[in-house]
Structure formats: C-alpha cells, structure tokens
Amino acid sequence: MTDATLTHTPPADSLFRRNLRDFRRNRLAMASVIVMLIFVIMTVAAPLIAPHDPNQTDLFRRLQPPAWIDGGDWRFVLGCDGLGRDILSRIIYGARISIFIGVVVIVLATGVGILAGLAAGYFRGWVDVVIGRVVDILLGFPYLIFAIGLMAMMGPGLVNIVLALAYKEWVIPCRVVRGETLAVRELEYVEAARALGAGSGHIMWREILPNIMSPVIVVSTIRMANVIILEASLSFLGLGVQPPTASWGSMVSDGRAFILEAWWVSTFPGLAIVLLVLAINVASQGLRDAFDPRFSE
C-alpha cells in the first residue's frame, strides 16, 4: 500500500445516506415519488394549473361529460359535476385538502408519538404503564368510528378533521418508538454516554432518537396513505371539509346520485385517491426495503 491509499478517507457517509442511495435505485419507488411530487405541485400551484375556478357553477354545463365523449368540451377535460363545476379543477384543488391533512396529521402524530414513545421506553415504570394503557384503549376503538364520533362532537371543519385523526394516529409511531427505544437504551453507547455524564434528555434526543428514526420515517409514510383515505371517508360521509370547498371524498359522494347517468363525477376523484394512496404505499415500501435491514438483500 502506498501513502496515498493510506491517507485516503472515503467521503462522510452515514447509514441514513447509504439507505437513501438504496432507495434511489428502486425504480418503482422512484416512479411513485414522481407521482407524489406531481400531486404536491398540484397543491402548491393549484391556482396556476387549474383551468377554471373550482367553485364556479354553470347550470348549462350540468353533468357535462369528459372531453372525449359526445357532448364533451376540451375546455372541461374531465367533464362537469351536478352543479356544472369543472371536475379537473376541483380535483386539483381537492389535492390540497388531502395532502394538507395527510401531512399535518402525520407530522402531528409522529411528533406526539415520538415524545410519548421515548418517554415510555426510556423511563419505563409508571410512565410506561400510563402511556401503554392509553395506547391500548385507543387501539381498542375502530379508527373510523372513533373519528366519526369525534367529528360529531366537535363539528366539521379542517382543524377538527386534523384533530380527530391525530387523536388516534399518534398511537402508531408511539408504539414503534417505544419498542425501538427499549432495544437501543440497553446498547453500550447509551451506557457510555451515561458514563460520560449525559443526562436523560441528552440520551433520549442525541443517543436514542437519531438511531431509531429510520423505522419511524417508514411507518409514518405508510400511515400517511391511511390518513388520506380516512379523510376521504369522513368527507364522503359529509363530516369533512364543508361545501363548496372541493375535497375528493365529498366529490365522490356528490357523484353518487348520478352514478348511472354521469359516472365521471365520482370516478375521477376516486381515481385521484387511488393514485395518490398507491404512490405513497409503493414509495413507503421502497423506503422500508431501503431502511430496514431485514428487507435489504
């Protein structure tokens, strides 16, 4: 070996970054990330992209079919709903609600779940018992029934949907974090940190948390798809965002009355839900494959 090879140091490369590289190699997962990105762009740039005002009614265009069917009009590509509103524009604006709720609920739930899970797993004892009982109780309720009950109590509205979903959603990251914390707190480097005078806060935030983030990220993405479906379900039941604000769930519900004569009113928002949820699921499976050593070859 020459001097040059001895002093050569590879570029800093954390486990996280290596995992990310694995993820980028997964083509299917990358494709679904692109689909997700398209939806995100739709949310951010809705006013620029949408061809029409999503709430502009026009009774002359009532139940106008998509452009490629007789009676269609290329200015209204996906047709119009029962009040003559442009379906494409409403889907673009509806993406805002779905993605906003998905992201906010997951961020909220993951934050709370990390705090509760770390506390339960690190302190054990009565903290663990109390948090564990709350988790068990919440898990005992069927999710949708729980959310419907809460919505009925709090009344509809954007903030209330977020709260109704987050109230239960935090349980999932909490259990993941607690389990991982239990394993990591016994490792030698945590003991080493204690031997160097580290306090509980430092050990939880700097020693344990960075080492358990991978499974938390994976679980949170998987759950985001679930939250989006739940939001659509609540909106479908009329407990979600109130009209005239466009939401995919309420659009499907609106089209239900005309499903035989005007299938497009329900079908296109339904397809949007399927596409987004599928993209998130595939992407999160790619994440799991890349980040979870049990799934990587």
């Binding site: 800093a12 490369d13 486990l15 480097y189 003991e191 080493a192 031997a195 005078g197 580290a198 960075p210």
Partner: protein
C-alpha cells in the same frame, strides 16, 4: 502520593427472581493520584460492577447497599444525581468493554467528542464563533493525542468508518476530552487483536504519564497488569482476595487463587508441559455462607477455613484474604 479515590466496604446487590445476588461484597480500595491500579479477576468476579457502583451507574434491579466512596475528598454516594453527572465525564471517565458498540452510530466522531466538551468544560469561550473554533481545536488535539492520523478530516466521519483499534482510541479520546483525574478502563483490549492491544495499552500508559491521571485498569490478563500497573487487586466472587504492589503480588503471590491464576498462564519456560487450571467452578453468588469463598477449589483448604475470612496483612503494603498465609510464604 495523596489518595484520590477511597472506597470502603462497598456492597452492591442485584435482586433477581430467585433471590438477592451480592455481586460486590465488602470491597475496599484506594487509588492515589497518578497511580495505575490493575483489577484482575475472572468473569463475574465483580470487577466491572465495583467500578459501575463507584460511578453511580448501577441501575435497578441493582443497588449499592453499603459502603462509602470518597473521590478527591467528596462523598460520591451522598451526591444528588445532578452532581454525580457533573463528576462523570469530567472528574472520572470510563471506557466501555466493547469499543465496537460503544460509539453512537448516528453521530460523527466530531459531534460525539464535542458533546462531552460542551457538557463539562467551563473554560470554553462564550462567544459563538470562538466557542466553535475552540471545540474544534480541542477535538483535533484529542484525536491527535490518541494517534489518529489526519484528525481534521476524520472528525466528520462516522464510527463505522473506523477499525476496531481506531474506535477504541476514539473512545479513549472522548473519555480524556475533559482531562479527568481518574480513568476507568474496563477491559480496554478485549475486543482487539494482540498487536492493537499493545498499542492501546501503551497509549493509555503514555497519556497517564503526560496528564498525571490515575488509571484503574480492569482486565483478566495478568500479563497486561504486570506491564502497566503500579498496584494490583485480585477479585474473586465479589470480594478482594489479594492486593499489593504488582511486582510483589505477581512475583510472589500469597492467596491460593492468585497462585492458581498465575499457574494457569502459559510460559515459554514450561513449553511441553500441560497447563494447571484451577479446578472447580466459581461459586453461585446467591446466598453465600459466611466462609472462605475459594475453599471448594483451594488446594490448601481445611475444615477450619469454613469461617468468615478478613483481609490479613501479608507483608509491607500487601493484604490477602486467607487464613493459611503462613503456608504460602
């Protein structure tokens, strides 16, 4: 030499399902400033637990139930958890047995070094930029001290990018970052291969001489002790069985257990002859009767040994826990 650490009659117990396990039973020890004490004994003899107890790191179901610990004139057992945190890392530092798992895999070496400094070093400048520069300088200095080439660029690397010997050195660098008065090196060489072992031990001895730091070297290797320690303490089944200056204890062991340990080490002079193992098993630490703990394996044992044995004087600066010392002169 003034006494730095003085432990008297320390007892640490673990409550297991089957009963109380006394892992450390009446251990007394002293370490002077700048001294290196070797702590020898087989697995489960209570070496590591003794020092975990001193650092206040024993967690439930374990408990220190008895004894006094004075460090630098301060009573460690009487301290609040916060005060104790200030002592750990700054005054007493400890390196862990397994260097391969003792560094946090998610943080860079630089971050881990800096954290100890930030936690304990009050001499750092208060200005933000000056502070960052000072921390960086100290980190580079510490890595240089433990012999890591091009420390500047290596600060940004993660533990998995270093070899086992390097990681052991880094762990020592982290332990030494605040210039502790006492370093507890818990089997610093077990996870390393022989050539690296020698380097790491040499490094510890070297730094000890330069920084005037005391070292407690926990090991089960008497050869390591002979080479690096001023005094040695032999532990068996949770008790100290012999202590004294290294040369005297190794050259002329008085306790039958120490003799057995030394007889079981291969020597070039004894090539071709079988080794002499110590017969029998370490006793179960649960519910031990108050009697000599080595008697079931001892070649000198007699019925009169079945009583509680105190540490007896065995010459200048030496003590041993055996009633039949006159037979081992």
């Amino acid at each position: 030499m003034t006494v730095l650490l003085e432990v008297t009659n320390l007892r640490t117990e673990f409550s297991a399902r089957a009963g109380l396990v006394r892992a450390v039973d009446g251990v007394s020890l002293q370490i002077s400033r700048g001294e290196c004490l070797g702590v020898v004994g087989e697995s489960g003899s209570g070496k590591s637990v003794t020092f975990s107890s001193i650092m206040g790191l024993v967690r439930p179901p374990g408990r220190v139930t008895q004894g006094t610990i004075f460090f630098d004139g301060r009573d460690l057992r009487g301290m609040s958890p916060e005060e104790m945190r200030g002592v750990r890392g700054r005054d007493i530092a400890m390196t862990m047995q397994d260097a391969l798992t003792a560094l946090n895999p998610a943080l860079t070496i630089g971050e881990q070094l800096a954290e100890v400094l930030v936690a304990h070093d009050e001499t750092l400048p208060t200005g933000r930029a000056a502070r960052r520069v000072a921390i960086k300088d100290r980190c580079v200095e510490m890595l240089g001290l433990v012999g890591i080439p091009s420390p500047d660029s290596r600060l940004r690397q993660y533990p998995h990018e270093f070899s086992g010997g390097m990681r052991q050195r880094i762990m020592i660098a982290i332990a030494l970052a605040c210039r502790p008065k006492l370093l507890i090196a818990d089997e610093p060489t077990t996870a390393l291969d022989v050539t690296i072992q020698a380097q790491v031990l040499e490094l510890i001895s070297d730094i000890r001489a330069r920084m005037g730091m005391a070292v407690a070297l926990i090991t089960h290797d008497l050869g390591v002790v002979a080479e690096h320690c001023d005094r040695v303490m032999v532990m068996y089944a949770g008790q100290v069985v012999e202590e004294g200056p290294t040369e005297d204890v190794i050259g002329h062991p008085r306790h039958p257990y120490t003799r057995g340990l030394l007889a079981s080490i291969p020597r070039p002079a004894m090539r071709g002859q079988p080794l002499t193992p110590i017969k029998g098993q370490v006793p179960n630490l649960m519910g031990l009767a108050p009697q000599c703990r080595f008697h079931s394996r001892c070649p000198l044992a007699e019925p009169s040994c079945l009583v509680e044995v105190p540490m007896l004087s065995a010459g200048p600066g030496r003590r041993a826990r055996c009633l039949r010392l006159e037979e081992t002169v």
